[in-house]
Amino acid sequence: MKQSSLIFFVLALVFSLRLSAAELNIEITRGVDNPIPVAVVPFAWDGINLLDEDIAQIISSNLEQVGEFRALSRANMLSLPSEEREVHYRDWRILAQQYLVIGKISQVPGGQMVQVQWEFFDINRERKVLGEVLTGSMSQLRDIAHEISDVIYQEITGKRGAFSTKIMYISAEGAIGSTVFKLHYADYDGRRAQILLESREPIMSPAWSPDGSQIAYVSFETDLPRIYIQDLASGQRRQVTNFPGINSSPVWSPDGSKLAMVLSKDGSPDIYVLDLANDQLRQLTDHPRAETEPAWTLDSRSVIFTSDRTGQPQIYKVDAAGGLPERLTFDCFYCAKAQFLPDGVNLVHVRRETRQDNSYGIAILNVQTSRVIKLTETALDESPSVAPNGSMIMFGTTAGGKGVLDAVSIDGRIKFRLPSLQGDVREPSWSPYLN
């Protein structure tokens, strides 16, 4: 393996607009019972050539993907207004719509820029709620559509939308012995995927810096697991660690000042914290069993982690300044890979209830009430990653013999899948807000 990796090791840093073959498409596998009806009318366009993207369609898909909404089919629309004076509320009330989105796109003279004027109406109150004009290049139509979706989502639900966020994930393609590993970067819905890193050796544990400008991951490209940090805009990367043994699970503190990680240089995996300002390394746990999968509390003051010090993996919390860890999970056979939701109270984790049930699902533990909600029962669920608005959790699972990415709403009612066209996909990592 060592020799072949030296010969065939390929490292590609591609940060162009190249589309990845493993682009994901969303299919909703489960939705809510009474979704809010929204009509998104095709946006008018004053240009001659057809546009690459259908903004209204993207908005409809976004709203449907989170499950709380149902978009009206275009074929059922009685009129196709593109500005306020063309809106007849009656047309939409007949169709039992609650909200209406319209818009028009026009070319900015003398360039590749377009102007998107859009408006949002409450049908029951018969009034315009919002309206704005966005300007961008032709290649930014999807970004504009996501931005409009974010505003609509916030207006209706009161929660900030996460449609403009990104994900990273890993794919593995090819037969055993000739597998190619790739780190991908894509819109939250899997569209516009790009390859950030490609290697003949495994890539693991992608993580975002809190401002979204940098990423960290584990790459085996030297034949050993080592942590790297890469700047997204420039593509520049550097190896952060080179300790004997495991170097894994990098994760930024929410304040951006530190990187928690796992090192086994002293014999067994322990949690360490690297201060990024002065390169000082602090050991947080010291135990002969395995300590791994660190994650920060929202205040950057504590680190939660998985430890099998009692025999089976359980979740613990330790002060980032040091001290004795506190155990957080008790009633499961296997509880691991935990991460706090933005509320700081609910802990998302991978859970196997008993030795007998042999199924790994995503669950939420309320650390104040000790109440546990199981969100999934797919048997091989892992690597949960929370959307920055806390509304959805994306995770890796197995379907039809290969790795796929699923997302589930925080209440477990809504679920959608991002199936890949090629290879196994795993380890989704949801970005922070990027705008």
Partner: protein, 180 residues
């Protein structure tokens, strides 16, 4: 640790004794059945010496064959969620350790793996524990620390695909690879 070493030592001695006994009995069988060519003019003493020489040579070859078979075994399998290797692999590993002791320039890389169940980072830890257990056993049995390199791939490099117990069994393993 002392206790463990003592046990390991005892079983090593026991294993050697068994190998020795097996070699003895098999050679004496061969000796009785093999036609003995009398070289003209060879004295009884010379003949006895030659036969002893031949017996030792056969014994040496047999032991070499067994050792080669043991050295050719480079994948060791583990039970689910268990980091200790299987007792049946002890003798094979002792041969590996002795071979390393006899060849101080030889270096090996112990690659630890886990099946896909459970979380990826935890499986990385499990794979390392498996590789480390074999490394420590080899050291106790004569290999030197600087001949051994360990790495864990966790569940990232399966030997078999699929969500079956058969595939999982093949994936929970430590592979002994030549190290550069």
């Amino acid at each position: 640790m002392g206790m463990q070493f003592n046990n390991v030592f005892k079983s090593a001695v026991l294993a050697l004794t068994i190998i020795g006994l097996a070699a003895c009995s098999s050679t004496s069988d061969t000796e009785e059945m093999a036609p003995v060519a009398q070289t003209a003019g060879e004295s009884d003493a010379a003949r006895a010496a030659r036969l002893e020489q031949e017996r030792l040579e056969r014994e040496r070859q047999e032991q070499q064959r067994r050792e080669q078979a043991a050295l050719n075994t480079t994948v060791f399998y583990f039970d689910f969620d268990v980091a200790e290797f299987q007792p049946a692999d002890r003798e094979t590993l002792i041969v590996h350790a002795r071979n390393l002791a006899a060849n101080p320039n030889r270096r090996v890389r112990l690659e630890g793996h886990a099946d896909e169940r459970g979380t990826r980072e935890y499986n990385l830890a499990l794979g390392e524990r498996r590789a480390n257990n074999i490394r420590d056993f080899l050291i106790v049995n004569g290999a030197s620390r600087n001949q051994l390199e360990t790495v864990s791939y966790g569940e990232e490099r399966p030997a078999a695909n699929g969500q079956t117990e058969a595939a999982y069994r093949q994936n929970r393993r430590v592979e002994v690879q030549p190290a550069g």
